[in-house]
């Protein structure tokens, strides 16, 4: 278990001071695949580097199973990193790269050789053991970097956007590979990415970061279905935002009145207003189209966009604003609706999410 307690990092001083991390609190569980997700400059990499020991926080504490990590130099921490640039040693072979950490730990020679062999097998690189790192492809380099970081059996593996340099198909393969490695080794993975899809597919839990702070922590489903804030809802997936009036609120259950006058039950994020004007977030695929007069929000269909797997219906609402409904395509269903038609948007109870802000 890693506990990050009110970690703050300020770069520079005076007028040029930049607050990269602002009192970040998070607890990462043993054996968890934990993702730090956010746009570039949100502080996710800085937080990772604090855990690795390359950045000293201005304030706060970081503990691993109760041990103070900040007291330890990077080479004393049972934590290894897969760097974004891989940072493989160009003057060593693949096998020498993987064995480096073990060698530095002073493990016996035959143990090093055995572990390197296991690691090569784990990442399926056994045939390329004696190649130089400049002689292998980007995907292979990525796997070597992974094996090198896993070989000393760290308690925590930090991954700094390790897939960003790979092409799409390779990235998909590596995502599954990473998941497999994590469950096979039982090591806690802390993964940094700006790619929401990557975060959703791989993580046990995600922390969404923005401007040096964690905005929301939860399972991929939690984060996607129940974003707490506008930033989270906006950053992950597509979202419709509706102005609404909060009528009543009881824990996570909220009654809201939409601009069309219709009332509906929604979920409410923790914190936030108890009454008055609120914003309601609804995912495009969680809503549907209804004939005029039946749904919650009447409007006029302005665009129908075909995407292969699904079709997007853009509705200009009578109450103002635009709402997008996404419907999966099936081969036997012909889409009869055409732009200009009068329709209504409908969605079920507890589908809408009342945002904190």
């Amino acid at each position: 278990m890693i506990e990050i307690d009110r970690v703050t990092k300020v770069f520079g001083a005076g007028a040029e001071a930049f607050r990269a991390l602002d009192a970040v609190n998070v607890t990462i569980r043993q054996n968890e695949f934990f993702t730090l997700l956010g746009p570039s400059g949100c502080g996710k990499t800085t937080l990772l580097r604090v855990m690795a020991g390359f950045v000293d926080p201005t304030e706060g504490a970081v503990t691993l199973e109760g041990d103070d990590l900040l007291r330890l130099a990077p080479y004393e921490r049972p934590v290894n990193t897969v760097f974004q640039s891989y940072a493989l040693f160009p003057h060593m072979t693949v096998a020498e790269n993987i064995g480096f950490g073990l060698e530095m730990q002073g493990r016996p020679r035959d143990e090093v050789r055995r572990t390197v062999g296991e690691m090569l097998e784990l990442v399926r690189m056994s045939e390329l053991a004696d190649r130089r790192t400049s002689e292998i492809s980007g995907g292979q380099q990525q796997r070597v970097a992974l094996a090198r970081a896993l070989a000393p059996r760290p308690r925590v593996l930090l991954l700094d956007e390790p897939l960003s340099a790979l092409d799409f198909k390779l990235r998909k393969d590596m995502q599954l590979e990473l998941k497999r490695l994590q469950s096979e080794t039982g090591i806690t993975f802390i993964f940094v990415t700006h790619d929401q899809e990557e975060a959703l597919t791989m993580s046990d839990r995600i922390a969404v970061m923005n401007e040096g702070a964690i905005r929301q922590i939860g399972s991929p489903r939690d984060i996607y279905d129940h974003p707490a804030e506008r930033f989270v809802a906006d950053f992950i997936g597509d979202t419709n935002f509706l102005e609404a009036e909060l009528l009543s609120k009881e824990e996570a259950r909220a009654e809201v009145r939409l601009a069309s006058g219709a009332a509906v039950t929604a979920r409410a994020a923790e914190g936030g207003a108890e009454a008055g004007a609120v914003t309601l977030a609804i995912r495009p695929e969680h809503a549907d189209l209804a004939p005029e007069g039946e749904g919650l929000l009447p409007g006029r269909l302005s665009d129908v966009v075909y995407f292969g797997t699904d079709t997007h219906f853009h509705v200009d609402l009578d109450a103002g604003g635009r709402f997008v409904v996404r419907r999966q395509n099936t081969p036997d269903r012909a889409e009869a609706r055409a732009p200009g038609e009068r329709v209504a948007v409908r969605f079920g109870a507890r589908v809408g999410q009342v945002l904190r802000d």
Partner: protein, 315 residues
């Protein structure tokens, strides 16, 4: 090109051959000045020196065109004036030995000072690196003699260092530094230090310092990161710097002359002596060629040794 283009389209093979010829001609033209310099300014004089070393010294300098192996014999040996026995030329050998020893020590000292300096500069923000390099290079633009006299001013008995030490009360009589091997070492290290810093800096500037973080991350301490990651990757710069310092040190003339006095003669001075007061041009020529052989042998040994350490993978 217009001249070679014919009305009929030429077969591709002819065109390729023509282009190759053209390239060869361009290359020959570009190489011509360098070749001319090499032939007339390097090989030519070298051949003259080689010829002189097999001739007989003239009474007032110069040579007499009479074949003799005496000069080469005298490089390493001498005939006792009284007994006529052949013995090793101790005086010559000690000069050779001193030159090699001091050159090696100077190279080591330059590396010891130059590597951290280059590392420091290479890790500064890009904007300030040029400034630091300028500080390294400015002395290099200054006349060698002036730099040597500057060192003399520092280390002579009434010089800055001794005056300061006496003023602080640490010593009461000046430490004799001038005209010692120490003076030579300090002087040559000072003079040739930029030649070490420049190539090492060039190597470190290309070095990816993220590898240092990777090393720390993988349980390597500072020393191990230096030894296992930084040094191997900076080696081309270290090798180049060592050669650039060692070679001119072996033949150094001005610095030993000013700082070493007559007692600590190095090869450069000894060779000069033969062409000057010694009036033994053939011996000077033979000594100069011996120096050339030593330099080449040292380079071969050094490059071999460094290459082997690499495990022969880099070739």
């Amino acid at each position: 090109m217009a001249g070679t283009a014919s009305a009929r389209p030429a077969p591709a093979r002819d065109l390729a051959a023509a282009r190759r010829r053209e390239e060869r001609r361009t290359r020959a033209l570009l190489l011509a000045p360098a070749m001319a310099i090499l032939i007339f300014a390097a090989s030519g004089p070298l051949l003259i020196v080689l010829a002189y070393s097999f001739l007989t010294p003239g009474d007032y300098g110069g040579v007499v065109w009479e074949f003799s192996l005496k000069a080469w014999f005298n490089v390493f040996a001498e005939r006792d004036f009284f007994t006529g026995e052949i013995e090793l030329a101790d005086a010559h050998l000690s000069i050779f030995w001193r030159s090699i020893k001091l050159s090696a020590m100077t190279t080591a000292l330059c590396l010891l000072i130059g590597f951290p300096t280059a590392y420091f500069i290479a890790t500064r923000p890009r904007k300030t690196r040029d400034f630091w390099m300028l500080l390294v290079i400015i002395p290099f633009w200054t006349n060698l003699l002036i730099r040597t006299f500057a060192i003399m001013e520092l280390i002579r008995n009434e010089g800055t260092v001794n005056s300061f030490l006496i003023w602080t009360g640490l010593i009461d009589t000046p430490i004799q530094m001038m005209f010692t091997e120490f003076a030579l070492l300090v002087g040559m290290a000072y003079v040739y230090l930029p030649l070490m810093i420049l190539p090492v800096y060039a190597a470190l500037e290309r070095f990816d310092f993220r590898l240092v973080e990777a090393g720390y991350d993988l349980y390597a301490g500072r020393w191990q990161v230096l030894r296992r990651i930084v040094l191997p990757l900076a080696k081309p710069g270290v090798v180049a710097g060592s050669i650039l310092v060692f070679v001119p040190c072996l033949g150094a003339y001005v610095t030993p002359r000013v700082l070493g006095g007559g007692k600590n003669m190095m090869l450069g001075n000894f060779i000069e002596l033969q062409f000057g007061q010694g009036r033994n041009w053939p011996l000077g020529a033979a000594l100069a060629l011996t120096l050339l052989v030593i330099v080449m042998a040292a380079l071969i040994v050094y490059v071999r040794a460094v290459g082997r350490e690499e495990g022969g993978r880099h070739g």
